[in-house]
């Protein structure tokens, strides 16, 4: 005695959000049934295990059928096969594209290629996320990347338009695309303490202020690429550390502002030259692709770690960076104010975001 066939089709597609999550998490049907039972699904409607199994199977099948559509979300709204109310459509799409930040952190900056896909089982065992689920997330990254790559105009908007995602999720995808495109180094041991959210924030900053699309609205190219001219101009900032007068003047201005306001004043005063050189050197090296990819590792090694070992608090750091960047405005000899602000604005917020244990 066995059930050979068992289907349920509603005119409005019946979708259980909890089961959807189980499906997205890559559970098998029997696993999902067990989890549902533990969650007390049997108390509802006097169900039994058989009913639950049948329902789970059915839901999983429905999601599988929907998956093809979800891969190009714009089709969801004008397909005819499933009658799904708009708000449920949004839910389906949003949840399908949601990802685990632990997983995203692992993939971040890697090439979204077949090679990486092969490593997914390692990531799966490391993160405890089911392989199936890893694959979906990886394929989503790849898919979004491929679609957006060929498009012109603002990245976040493109993602939102083509995948109908919420603003928050679209921004996260923008970060992933940005990292995959620029191939920033994120895998070094020293960077392990940084979360996906840290990187996503930094990516957001870079996209907003350093890319082509950030300054002019001419939609020529994908704005994942940083503005070459700007990177080139960054070399001019060297004058801040190379010109001794300017360096001294800068130092005295900063010290005047911070005296008595930060605990690590003496250390700061003593190492001002190093501090300034670290930040300016990073700027001047960004034209080289290799150094550019090392942006985050440089920030950590050359600036963040030394401050941490000197036991700077985040408040001290914030005050220092604020006055360090603003006092440049009073340096009359310095003529690259605009470049400086554009550079320091991003670097300041990135450092502050990355300055934690």
């Amino acid at each position: 005695m066995s059930t050979e066939l068992d289907v349920f089709v509603g005119n409005t597609t019946v979708l259980d959000e909890d089961v959807y999550q189980l499906w997205l998490d890559g559970h098998t049907v029997s696993n999902a049934v067990r989890i549902r039972m533990e969650a007390g699904a049997l108390q509802e409607c006097e169900a039994n295990a058989e009913v639950l199994h049948s329902d789970t199977m059915d839901q999983f099948r429905t999601f599988q059928m929907c998956e093809r559509l979800l891969q190009s979300p714009s089709k969801v709204a004008n397909q005819l096969l499933f009658q799904i109310p708009p708000h449920r459509q949004t839910m389906l799409i949003e949840r399908y594209y949601e990802f685990d930040s632990v997983f995203a952190r692992e993939v971040l900056g890697k090439k979204l290629s077949k090679g990486t896909k092969k490593d997914l089982d390692d990531i799966s065992s490391k993160t405890g996320i089911a392989l199936k689920c890893c694959r979906r997330q990886f394929d989503n990254f790849k898919h979004v990347f491929k679609v957006v790559e060929e498009l012109k105009g603002p990245l976040v908007e493109n993602i939102q338009r083509h995948f109908l995602l919420s603003d928050v999720l679209a921004r996260d995808y923008a970060a992933i695309v940005f990292f995959a495109n620029s191939r920033f180094e994120t895998g070094k041991r020293k960077l392990q303490y940084l979360s996906f959210q840290d990187f996503a924030f930094c990516a957001g900053q870079l996209i907003s202020y350093w890319t082509v699309g950030a300054v002019n609205n001419v939609m020529e190219d994908l704005d994942v690429d940083l503005e070459k001219e700007f990177l080139h101009d960054l070399k001019d900032l060297k004058v801040l550390v190379n010109d001794k007068d300017m360096l001294d003047q800068h130092k005295s201005l900063v010290c005047a502002q911070l005296r008595g306001k930060i605990k690590v004043f003496s250390e700061m005063e003593a190492s001002f030259k190093n501090l300034s050189r670290a930040l300016v050197n990073i700027a001047s090296k960004l034209t080289h692709t290799k150094d550019f990819r090392d942006l985050f590792i440089d920030l950590v090694e050359k600036f963040i770690e030394p401050r941490r070992s000197d036991k700077w608090t985040i408040g001290d750091l914030r005050l220092f960076l604020k006055h360090y960047s603003s006092s440049v405005h009073t340096l009359e000899a310095f003529r690259h104010q605009v470049i400086w602000d554009r550079y320091m604005g991003v670097i300041k917020s990135c450092i502050l975001k990355m300055y934690h244990d």
């Binding site: 066939l5 089709v9 005119n11 409005t12 099948r61 397909q79 096969l81």
Partner: protein
């Protein structure tokens, strides 16, 4: 040359990739009608081609227009090899042939391929220019309207009911032709689909001709079925009721602007919305027409009088119970009754078959119900030699119909209502079944025309119980039955139990709620061939039927009920077994005596343990009955003689009635007891079958809290449906792997059905409180050792608040209604400066509404906003729910809006209906019922009758049998919705899946499935949307939220 068909191919989208190299498609379209074919240009390298073709024009006979579908084929152009077909769309032109239905077909239709399923969509425009053909000898029947709905459609009224129409056409099945050996499965499937399209077109045309001959203009309850007889051919047959319908023309514009006006006519036909408290044994007759009358008396404006004309027409359909002076007229009516009988008898006898596939009737049409009549016959199929002369099949059905007719006569009835026919085929054996309900009908709608005196007689019979009164001669009962005097009117005899195949009449007095009752039976049978097999089957049939009947009776008593509605017995034959499934909705008819309990008796009460065993069982049964009575709220009311003669009691009188009821509850139980003893049902336990029966009785799973179920249109006792509806189809196939005894099989079959129900409840748990309506089970034995059960039903949510205290709440609801009505009146009175409306005591449909009219009188002196305040504060006092208050006040403030020009108002509400979905795909609701809760059907666009075949040779890759069928059913739904949307509709009512034949061969990785669905495409407008346009945003949001579960 009476017709010009025009088609335009606009665009395609989501086409499949046909060229692997470029990942694109070079698509073009062939448009074919009859033997004429047109082609569009090739639109190169696109998955979203824009053909924007010219108008392709076909000049054809209207006969062809009726028979042929427009066939659209999308192909991929290939320079070097043959063009690949992407898929096809068949478009039924029929809805365009009727002036009152759709005028254009326009929209995105799925491109369907029998091997790959839906492959993209195509946007087409189809129109028909029809020239009038007055040739008497014409073969076409354009203009005859067809309805699947088995009642008079909502926006029509029946001028005349002509009677039964039937027709069948036969053909060879392409699947069994020699050519099938050399053609591809796709070609074979397409040949079959096309043939069935043609045959159903032809059938519909022929039925239409018969209707025209009878002088009618419509077929109601059109039921078309296929018999796939395999080698011996393909039979398409249909039955229906020919009627002359008249459109209630003024309702459309009037209701569009005057929401509350729509309520009278709605209440007439949908007791589901009526506010009559269930279980109140008031035989006051339908109160609504009276209210409608009030309306017309208050109608100074033009649009008003139009509305009132609609209610007047309704009025004329209704027995004017309220007006007649009850008792005396009844006594005079004695001889008249006989006269009436003769009159109608003769009217009906003129007809070949006085059969009516209708299940619900205009008020006053159904006079008495005798009981279920059914006939079956087992036939051996032989090859149909001459398709043009389907005499054998005709003769077979003729036999059965004659038998039904004579059964009805034996019950003293001249007509059979709720009539249906079905077949079950296994190899060369075929069971033909027909069943219906013997009844006596009023001659009012018959051709012969009524006498005025008859009217007077009919007026006396209370509609709440009249149909229960026995039609047959008391001294000459055709079957053993205990007769008692009617518990409502105490004047006529009623049987102890009533089985019918029709829907519960809307005016019937019912106590408590109903529930789905099923009898399930499985019997093994020896394998046999040909005639021997037929003999074995026909010998088994009577036993099967008897057992099903016994089971039904037991289960009915176990639930403390006394009548079955919508009874449908299905018998399926397989090689080694017979399946019987009887489904019905049990109710407690107030007019019938309370059913006795079930008593168990042992034949040989020898030892004590045995006695104990019996008493244990007895206790269990008694407990179950008690529990069920509580569950279904069956508290048989007290004798109701008081009410006779005063159909519309004063409010005060009514409240006294209520009180007296509660006071004399002791008396009721006393009455019950006496009856319980009298007709207790005795089961003898020594009989092994009986043990099984008892077992089966007690293992039936009670519906979980918050759920109700029935297989009829509406559930007695539930009125306040929300707009959330969910139609669904569920199919299960079960494999039996061992040779089992009949009893083992029985249990498995029963569990299968029970588990299926359980799964449905679980699936739909988010809709609680809800009722599964029109639960339609279909069983089949697709192969040896396989049982297939398919269910189509609709889950409808209702408001719990009002369920709990329905008596009180219904009163409140009336009040709201009264307020809105008065609000309406108020508006016109102000505008036209008319005198104060004097609330006519007769006009108040319910006691409370009188207060409502006082209110309006007071409100006349104040402005709208303060009136609104008053309303809301008044309602607040009644502790109504917050949203109701909002509704109330909104209605009032926006009443100025309603005065806007009619067409504009309508178009606006329609537009909003489409736009709220927020997506480019219009939401199309589907329901097996004839109505949509909370909405008004404003137009019928034509019948939807679609037949699809799907086949796969990669079953595993498509997710196995379940994946395959799941996709296919979803595709069928999608195609139905798309075609309805293209006709301009937003819902399908009376939807049914009449055929779902599933065959698989897992070893070959193959499966095939045939599905036939039908329904009526309609346009509905939400009542809340009609209310006002100023609150559109608000209603839009509520709709979207409703759409979550509903649509």
């Amino acid at each position: 040359m009476p017709g010009k068909l025009k088609a335009k191919i606009v665009a395609g989208r989501h086409l499949p990739i046909m060229d692997r190299a470029s990942d694109l498609t070079d698509a073009f379209v062939e448009v074919k009608f009859g033997n004429t074919t047109f082609k569009t240009d090739v639109y190169p390298k696109s998955l979203n081609p824009q053909w924007n073709s010219e108008w392709f024009k076909f000049e054809v006979d209207d006969e062809d227009l009726q028979d042929e579908p427009l066939q659209i084929t999308v192909l991929d152009h290939d320079t070097y090899s043959a063009n690949d077909a992407i898929g096809k769309v068949y478009i039924d032109i029929d809805p365009l042939l009727c002036s009152e239905a759709a005028t254009v077909i326009s929209g995105w239709l799925p491109i369907y391929d029998t091997i790959h399923g839906i492959r993209g969509e195509i946007n087409v425009l189809v129109k028909v220019d029809l020239f009038n053909d007055l040739n008497r000898f014409r073969q076409s029947s354009c203009g005859v309207k067809f309805f699947c709905t088995t009642s008079i459609p909502r926006c029509y009224r029946a001028v005349m009911v002509h009677g039964f129409v039937e027709e069948l056409v036969v053909n060879e099945d392409p699947e069994y032709q020699w050519i099938d050996r050399i053609r591809t499965p796709r070609a074979s499937n397409e040949a079959r689909q096309r043939l069935i399209f043609l045959m159903s077109g032809e059938l519909q045309r022929k039925i239409g001709l018969k209707v025209l001959e009878m002088g009618g203009n419509a077929v109601v309850g059109y039921l078309q079925c296929f018999d796939l007889e395999g080698e011996s051919g393909l039979v398409v047959r249909a039955i229906g009721t020919a009627c002359t319908l008249e459109k209630i023309s003024s309702t459309l514009p009037a209701t569009a602007t005057h929401p509350s006006n729509s309520s009278p006519s709605k209440d007439m036909k949908e007791p589901g919305f009526g506010e009559e408290a269930p279980g109140v044994p008031l035989s006051s007759g339908p109160p609504t027409p009276l209210r409608a009358q009030t309306f017309s008396s208050f109608s100074p404006s033009k649009s008003y009088s139009r509305q009132s004309s609609s209610s007047d027409t309704e009025l004329s359909l209704t027995p004017k119970t309220g007006m007649g002076s009850g008792g005396s007229a009844g006594k005079e009516a004695g001889p008249l009754k006989a006269l009436l009988r003769q009159q109608t008898q003769s009217a009906l006898e003129q007809r070949e078959y006085p059969f009516f596939p209708l299940t619900a009737f205009p008020p006053g049409f159904l006079l008495h119900v005798g009981g279920v009549v059914s006939a079956r016959s087992v036939k051996l199929l032989d090859r149909i030699h001459n398709p043009d002369e389907p005499e054998t099949r005709d003769a077979w059905w003729e036999e059965i119909r004659q038998e039904i007719k004579s059964h009805a006569k034996a019950l003293g009835c001249q007509a059979v209502v709720g009539y249906s026919e079905s077949t079950s085929i296994c190899e060369e054996v075929c069971i033909l079944s027909a069943s219906g309900t013997a009844a006596i009908l009023s001659s009012r709608f018959m051709q012969d025309g009524p006498l005025d005196t008859e009217h007077r007689f009919e007026e006396v019979v209370s509609p709440g119980c009249g149909f229960c009164h026995i039609p047959y001669d008391e001294l000459n009962i055709p079957f053993p039955a205990q007769l008692t005097y009617c518990y409502c009117c105490r004047r006529y005899k009623v049987p102890d139990v009533l089985f019918t195949t029709i829907d519960l009449p809307t005016e019937a007095n019912v106590t408590g709620k109903g529930c789905l009752i099923q009898a399930r039976l499985c019997r093994t049978k020896k394998k046999a061939q040909g005639e021997g097999n037929a003999t074995v089957i026909s010998n088994l049939l009577p036993f099967l039927e008897y057992e099903l009947h016994t089971q039904l009776m037991n289960k009915l008593k176990l639930r403390g009920m006394n009548a079955l509605f919508g009874l449908r017995i299905q018998i399926s034959i397989g090689e080694t077994m017979l399946l019987g499934l009887a489904s019905a909705t049990g109710v407690y008819l107030t007019a019938l005596p309370s059913p006795g309990g079930i008593q168990i008796a042992g034949k040989t009460p020898s030892d004590i343990t045995y006695e104990q065993h019996i008493s244990n069982m007895q206790k269990k049964i008694n407990d179950t009955i008690a529990k069920n009575k509580e569950l279904y709220e069956i508290n048989p009311p007290e004798v109701v003689e008081e009410i006779i003669g005063s159909p519309i009691p004063e409010p005060r009188q009514r409240s006294r009635l209520f009180r007296s009821q509660s006071e004399s509850s002791d008396e009721v139980s006393e009455l019950d007891l006496s009856h319980g003893k009298k007709d207790a049902f005795v089961l003898e336990i020594d009989d092994t079958d009986a043990v099984e029966d008892i077992h089966a009785l007690l293992t039936d799973f009670p519906t979980p809290a918050g759920f109700y179920s029935c297989n009829t249109e509406i559930m007695p006792g539930i009125q306040n449906w929300t707009s959330a509806i969910q139609m669904f189809t569920s199919v299960r196939v079960f494999r039996l792997n061992a040779s089992l005894t009949s009893q083992g099989l029985n249990k498995i079959f029963s569990d299968l059905c029970e588990n299926l129900l359980k799964s449905l409840y679980f699936k739909l748990r988010s809709m609680v409180p809800c009722c599964l309506c029109h639960l339609n089970f279909t069983v089949a034995i697709p192969e040896d050792e396989l049982i297939q059960v398919a269910v189509t039903a609709v889950a409808m949510s209702f408001d719990k608040e009002q369920l709990l205290e329905n008596g009180k709440q219904s009163g409140e609801k009336t009040l709201i209604k009264a307020i809105t009505e008065n609000d309406e009146q108020l508006q016109f009175n102000l505008e036209l400066n008319a005198e104060t409306p004097s609330p006519n005591p007769l006009s108040s449909p319910k006691g409370l509404s009188e207060v409502g009219s006082h209110l309006s009188a007071r409100a006349l002196s104040v402005d709208y906003s303060s009136f609104a305040d008053r309303c809301s504060s008044w309602i607040e006092q009644l502790k109504l729910k917050a949203h109701t208050i909002r509704r109330g006040s909104v209605k009032t403030t926006s009443s100025m809006e309603k005065a806007s020009p009619l067409p504009e108002g309508r178009s606006r509400s329609l537009r909003s209906n489409r736009s709220y979905s927020g997506s480019s795909v219009a939401v199309v609701k589907m329901t097996p019922l004839s109505f949509i809760p909370g909405a008004k059907i404003i137009k019928y666009l034509g019948i939807i009758n679609m037949f699809f075949i799907r086949e796969t040779t990669s079953l595993r890759e498509e997710g196995g049998v379940s994946g395959f069928l799941h996709t296919f059913i979803a595709e069928v739904f999608a195609m139905v919705r798309a075609h309805v949307a293209a006709l301009g509709g937003n819902a399908v009512v009376s939807y049914s899946m009449k055929e779902c034949v599933f065959m698989e061969n897992p070893n070959k990785n193959q499966a095939q499935c045939l599905i036939n669905v039908s329904g009526d495409a309609v346009i509905f407008v939400r009542e809340s949307e009609l209310e006002s346009t100023s609150v559109q945003t608000q209603s839009a949001t509520t709709h979207t939220s409703n759409g979550a579960e509903g649509t």
